[in-house]
Each structure stands twice: as C-alpha cells, then as structure tokens.
Amino acid sequence: MAFGVANSSLPGRGPTPGLRFVLYSILAITLMFLDKREGWMEQVRFALQGTTYPLQLAVSSPSAAWGWVRESVRTRDTLRAENSKLRTRLRDLELRTMRYEALASENAKLRGLSAALPPVAQKWLVAEIVHVELNSLRPRVLINRGMSNGVFKAQAVLSDQGIVGQTTHVGPWSAEVILITDPEHAIPVQVERTGMRTIAVGTGNEGELALPYLPGNADVKSGDLLVTSGMGGVFPQGYPVARITEVHREAVQPLAQVRAAPLAHINRDREVMLVWFRETHPAAPVRNAQADLPKGDPNAKAQPTPPKPKPLAPAGGEAAGTASAPGQTAGPRQTVPAPAPGSAAPAQALAAPAQPAAPPPENRE
C-alpha cells in the first residue's frame, strides 16, 4: 500500500522508487558478499583503485605543490645545517657497518655455513605517501607505487626506523597500506631481550600498540624492544617494531596489560620503503598454507621441517629421556623416574618431540 502512495506522488517514467531501491540493495548486498566471502572483487577493486587514483592525485596536488615550494625556497643556511647533520649520520653509520662483513663471516662460521648469507632484503623501492584522506577512522595511507612497480598484496612496508605496515589493496599505480596501529592489524613480535613471542595489535591511536596476550607473569618491562618474529608470512624476522612503554599488572587479571610505542613515526611528509625478501633466507617470513589468503595460496608449500638430530646409538636412552622431558615437566608428576628405554621406544619419541610424551607408564601397568 505504501508503495502505491509513493508511486502516485511520483508520476513519471521508470520503475518506482521502491523497486529501484530493492534492485540497488540486492546489487549492493551481492557485491558485498562477493567481496567478503568469495574474494572475487579483487579485480573490480583493482579497476576502481585505478580510476580513483587520478582523483586522489588531484586532491593531493595542492599540498604536494606547497611541499615543493617550501622545499625550493629553503635558505642556504638550513641546507648547510642539514648537510652537516647528514654527514655526521653517514659517518656514524659507516663506522657501524665497518665491522659488518667480519661479523657476517664469523656468523657463517658459527652456523657451519661455507659462505655468509646474503642480506634478507633482496630489493627495496622507495614510495611516497600520497596526501589524501582514506578514512579518518582507519589509519591507512596511500602510496604512489602499485602493481606496475611489482608491488604485491601483504608486502612489508618499512621506514628507516622500523616496520610501518603492510599493503592491503594494490591498484595499478597505487597501493593502500594498513599501518600497524590499525585496530584490524596484528603483527607477530618477539621481545628482543628474552626472545618471548607474542602478538602486537593496533589500538587505533597513533603511536600506540597493545600486547593483549601476555600472561601476568611474563618477563617484560618498560623499554624492551620488540622485533618481528618472522611468523605470519609477511614480515621477516628481526626488524624493529616498537618499544614497550607501559606494563600494567593486576593480581586478579591473568593477562598483563602492555602498551608499546611504534618506532616508525608516520607523518605525512615521509617516504616509506617497500621491501622484497629472499624466500630462501632463514630470516625470511615463514609463509604457511593458511597464512593470509582466505582461499589458501595455491603456490604455498608447507614449511619443510628442519632435520632432526640423529639419535646416537650408545646414548639412546639418555636422548629419549631429554626428548620426553618437556612433556614430563608439563605433567603433574615429578617423582617417577625416566621410563625404561625399552618401554618407550626411543626412536619414536625422537621422531615426534613436539607431541606430548607417551602416556604415563603407570596407566599401562
């Protein structure tokens, strides 16, 4: 009945507003479903991103022009000051890298390798941040490099101080970068001092990360450096992410409330770096089959398991004892001595050290 009222008030051509609305909503919901559930819309998004990029460039041009003007009217004195500052920095960095070659070969010797490993970063590309507002609620930035430069989805984006984020949508000439401070972003990290692994989640506030999964008795303190742990398939191991600013423990809370400040300062004038990593390098990001694609990457292979130490024949019993030790410490019993080597087949226990130890012997008796 209501449809009839609206129709009578709008004599004219075309379908009624009600019908139009139904058609458009069905179309919109279909689009949402395809984008969300099936991931078919990547191509459409790619095209849309290509078409909106000129618009975004046009919007960003005034501030870019202003930046250019400001850059070109700088006085001789400021340039000189900056030059001397850069010289000092360059000298510092050169001093620091002087020992790098020696350390790399020493490391290779210690690892038992014949030659030093090449650096994990194979290639990098500097990208500029386009001055455009993507979404005031989601900390994302647009960069001026896209698929034509070889940028791929979920690529690590770094600045000279640390991890900035990763690419989410790659267009033909531009890419959207989700920052690590985005509430929808989580980065696997490791406390550099203790090697403890956890996950740092964005809070939505600029300059703040939360570490919500640390137990109350975890060994963290303010000032600890967080580096990437190499899990998750995006970031390689060992790059600086953030520094812990605040650790809050409460006796009634099982988890500690830990906050950290990202090291990379993302302001609008900055350039960022897109990095390609050597896939074979031990510090390269571990890509597993279920990593970041909802459908699974068809080219992804399971991580090859590292070679297990071969059980030595005379020390077989002791080796079995040490291998099952983690299982025993986890169990409640401590008084029972190590099971007889014959009962818990030592080779089997060695083959699967990650699995919980064999059932306690007393059950078997």
Partner: protein, 156 residues
C-alpha cells in the same frame, strides 16, 4: 516542473567526493561532514524523480573504492538513505530550514548507524566515538549546502 539538472548532480557529487578525500588536520578531519550524504539527500529531496537512489548507489560505490573496507557497503547504506529521503521528500521539503537541519541530523544518524551495523556484520567493527561527530557538523552546514546546491539549477 523543470528538467532535472543531471550534469549538476554529477558535478556536485564529484566535488563532494573530492571534499571527502581532501587531507585535513586531525581535529578538523574528525568534524568533516559527510558531503556525499548531504548531496545525495539534497537531490533525493529536491528532485525525487531524478534518480537519487541511483546517485546514492554510485557515489556510495565511489566511497567504497576510496575508503570502504568492503565494496558495496556505502552503496547499500547510501541508497537506503536516499530511498527514505525520496519517500518522505514532500514532508521534508515543506519544512522550514531549522527543522530540515534536524531531519538531516537524524538522516545522518541513520546513515552512520547502518554503516556501524554493516561494519560489524562484515567483521570490521569500529567503535571509535569520533565517527558520530560528523552528524552535528553535517546538520549545521545543511542550510549553507542547500544554498550552494540551489545555485546550479533553475528554480523548480
């Protein structure tokens, strides 16, 4: 009744999109009115036959391409808001400016509420309180917006 100003509709929508992506400092950015919604509301109320729902859909699609987490989200919400505006256009049009501002305020609230629900439904919940701030500024600039938007077409 004069002809619908199609060119003006497209032009103002593009301008509204440009204003949406214009970089602004943080405090101003939080208060930025949703220009696209205001434009869609204006054309839905003033020219209910000119396809305000379609305008809502396509400018929503453009918004999705620019900032949406899911394609189709803004398109759905904006075409819904446009449909309601087309539906009630006679009642809204006859109101004085102040009451229209109030209605726009509630329309913007509805828009943000729908977005909030769709955000949560698609798994991108965002509970930032700043997202509700633009309703106020949008309602405040509504009289200015209609004064500007009226200039581009012959009086109906």
């Amino acid at each position: 009744m004069s002809r619908e100003p199609r060119g003006w509709m497209v032009f103002t929508s593009v301008v509204a999109l440009l204003l949406t992506v214009l970089p602004l400092p943080g405090w101003l950015d939080a208060m930025r009115p949703e220009f696209v919604v205001l434009t869609v509301l204006y054309f839905s109320i003033t020219w209910p036959r000119a396809g305000g729902i379609g305008l809502g859909f396509f400018s929503g699609l453009a918004l999705d391409a620019l900032e949406g987490p899911v394609i189709g989200e803004h398109a759905l919400v904006l075409s819904t808001v446009a449909f309601i505006a087309v539906w009630e256009h006679q009642r809204i049009r006859s109101k004085p400016a102040f009451q229209q501002s109030l209605i726009v305020f509630f329309a913007l609230m509805l828009y943000e509420l729908f977005l909030f629900v769709v955000d949560a439904w698609t798994g991108h919940p965002n509970t930032d309180a700043r997202r509700w701030l633009h309703m106020l500024t949008g309602a405040l600039i509504w009289p200015i917006a209609i004064a500007l938007l009226e200039r581009g077409h012959s009086p109906r």
